[in-house]
């Protein structure tokens, strides 16, 4: 199971990097979304898949999943959700102001010497 997950994470990172390196702003934002998905899946994998029982620990229970990674993912998902929302609004605003969503046209400053 870990091996499959490693490949899935790797595939997500690959797709994310491909999208982030593209020129269109919207694709870049989708890329950052995929990147954070890959990271979250990686946390889940790092918590290991031992045990099929819920992450509840009480006396006498030996079969349980480590609850910490799930708590971490929940936090990280909320944060990446907020950042992505902000990023999308910013991209729209930048598109209105700069009249382009092409990153190659957004480089440098006007007042070069």
């Amino acid at each position: 199971m870990e091996i499959i997950m490693a490949f899935v994470c790797g595939f997500l990172f690959m797709a994310a990097i491909y999208l982030i390196l593209s020129r269109s702003l919207l694709r870049i934002i989708i890329g950052t979304g995929l990147l954070s998905h890959g990271a979250h899946l990686l946390i889940l994998t790092m918590g290991s898949f031992k045990g099929s029982a819920p992450p509840v620990l009480s006396d006498g229970v030996t079969d349980y999943v480590d609850p910490i990674p799930q708590a971490l993912i929940l936090t990280a998902i909320v944060i990446s959700f907020g950042v992505t929302a902000f990023f999308l609004v910013l991209a729209y605003r930048a598109y209105q102001e700069l009249q382009t969503d092409d990153m190659t046209l957004m480089k440098g400053s006007e007042d070069h010497e």
């Binding site: 982030i20 702003l25 870049i28 950052t32 990147l35 954070s36 890959g38 990271a39 979250h40 990686l42 946390i43 994998t45 790092m46 918590g47 290991s48 910490i68 990674p69 971490l72 936090t75 990280a76 944060i79 990446s80 907020g82 950042v83 902000f86 990023f87 910013l90 991209a91 605003r93 930048a94 102001e97 700069l98 990153m103 957004m106 440098g108 400053s109 006007e110 007042d111 010497e113």
Partner: protein, 496 residues
């Protein structure tokens, strides 16, 4: 167990929330912000006193036993940095009254400042590696707001890149924490330090150390990862730039300092050697940038990069003298960078341009500004009685103790380049023929900008001349960095 240490985080957060209401009432916004920062400063000074008297203070949320709950730890390192942060924020906000512009003040500038302070202080104080990530996100989210606030074309263009770089570095942070958790099975920084010592740092931990260096290095702007900094920082207005330049990169430096003295101390030959090499190249890259530009903002921005290199060089030595020097230099650099950005902000206000070639002759009309700029510039380069001297002296002394003779001499030589780069501003802007002067210079505005700047320069002078008084505090900080067991003991036994 002491809730007192949360005050410098809670107070800005609370005031940030209050400030989100009543956006259009400027007097209310300004007074409340200053009041909040003043209260937080008093809390932070009390905290420094408390830490000095009783050793590191800890509080574990929910009264969980130490490694299981989220711990906040205030040792001398974080208490000093928190205090410096708040004092600088106070002066930068004060300075901003005249220069940030009323439109920005009406659109959540002050809440943004308060939340960024919350994040910075939280990152300095937290004792939990995942909580560090959360506080990083708090300060980043506020910094996204501040960098784009105003919606100028350059700001929109640069903030997209700034956010993208930081989103990627945050993803790396999460990944690195996941790896670390899978190896040591804990998130409390004190507990991680103990567990890594137990397993004696196998190869995978060294990989994680390098990953952490990438994550924090992206924030701190060390050599291969500083590319985003100059253009991103030149976009926002001066008060925001001063806030970013003085605080944000220093959070990254602090995080490297903390992880590299607390966790990764068993394979020094690899991790700290890497840090040493990177810090030296960072200084070279910063020097090239600082000398190449004719834009005053860019010159000071590249000086941030140089300072980061110098501090990390001190960290890489891993002995008490150099770490004490790194602490001295870190606090010095925060103060002097804020002062310098504020000074060149005034220069830009008067001349109406950022291009050095168009400036000139300000010494005749604004002699006080010239003298204060000269003092700040000499302080930055580390000319003896001023604030940069002690830090650099101790760092180099530590470098000699660790047998890094050539790189230490190189650090000394780099001071000359720093001096040259800031003197160039002095020569071009203050000497020579009368250059460009902005048409709408108002004497009252100038005085209001100059007053907080002057006090901040005085503080930096005091920091240099009065080194004797704070040496004991810095000594405490260095002891904690050299001997992680003080930190881990404080956390593990602090619950009782």
């Amino acid at each position: 167990m002491n809730n007192f240490l949360l005050l410098p985080i809670i107070i800005p957060f609370f005031f940030g929330m209050i400030l989100m209401f009543g956006q259009k009432k400027l007097a209310y916004q300004r007074i409340t912000t200053l009041l909040g920062l003043l209260m937080a400063i008093i809390g932070a000074l009390g905290l420094v006193y408390k830490v000095h008297a009783d050793g590191p203070q800890t509080v574990t949320f929910g009264s969980w036993p130490a490694p299981f709950g989220i711990t906040m730890v205030s040792d001398m390192v974080s208490a000093l940095l928190v205090t410096t942060t708040l004092i600088l924020a106070f002066f930068i906000v004060w300075y901003g009254f005249e220069s940030i512009g009323k439109e920005r003040e009406r659109f959540f500038y002050y809440p943004g400042v308060m939340f960024i302070i919350t994040g910075v202080n939280g990152a300095f104080t937290t004792g939990d590696i995942f909580n560090l990530f959360v506080f990083f996100e708090v300060l980043l989210m506020a910094s996204y707001l501040l960098i784009v606030l105003g919606g100028e074309k350059a700001q929109l263009r640069e903030s997209i890149k700034y956010i993208l770089v930081n989103v990627i570095s945050s993803a790396f942070f999460v990944i690195t924490v996941a790896f670390l958790y899978s190896v040591v099975g804990t998130l409390s920084m004190a507990d991680i330090a103990l567990k890594i010592t137990e397993i004696n740092q196998p190869g995978i931990i060294t990989v994680i150390a390098v990953l952490f260096l990438m994550v924090f290095g992206m924030k701190a702007a060390i050599f291969p990862l500083y590319f985003w900094l100059p253009s991103a920082y030149s976009a926002p207005p001066i008060p925001v730039l001063a806030l970013f330049g003085a605080l944000l990169t220093k959070v990254g430096v602090y995080a490297i300092m903390r992880t590299y003295t607390l966790f990764f101390t068993h394979d020094l030959a690899f991790t700290h050697e890497l840090l040493l090499i990177l810090s030296v190249i960072t200084i070279i890259a910063g020097c090239i940038g600082a000398l190449a530009h004719f834009d005053v903002k860019q010159i000071i921005i590249y000086n941030i990069v140089i300072a980061v290199g110098v501090i990390l060089f001190g960290v890489a030595q891993m002995n008490e003298v150099a770490l004490q020097g790194a602490m001295f230099y870190l606090v010095h650099d925060m103060i002097i960078k804020a002062a310098l950005f504020m000074l060149i902000g005034i220069v830009i206000y008067i001349s109406g341009t950022t291009n050095l070639r168009k400036m000139g002759g300000l010494m005749k009309t604004y002699p006080a500004l010239g003298w204060f700029y000269l003092i700040a510039a000499l302080g930055l380069a580390g000319v003896p009685p001023l604030s940069g001297f002690v830090g650099k002296l101790l760092i180099v002394q530590g470098g000699f103790q660790a047998d890094n003779i050539w790189s230490s001499i190189f650090i000394l030589a780099s001071s000359l380049v720093v001096l040259l780069s800031v003197m160039r501003i002095f020569i071009y802007a203050f000497w020579g023929e009368q250059g460009q002067i902005s048409n709408d210079v108002n004497k009252t505005t100038y005085n209001r900008l100059f007053f907080p700047t002057m006090i901040l320069v005085f503080i930096s002078i005091l920091y240099g001349v009065g080194t004797e008084w704070i040496t004991t505090l810095m000594g405490d900080a260095a002891k904690i960095l050299v001997d992680p067991s003080i930190y881990t003991d404080a956390v593990m036994k602090g619950g009782e």
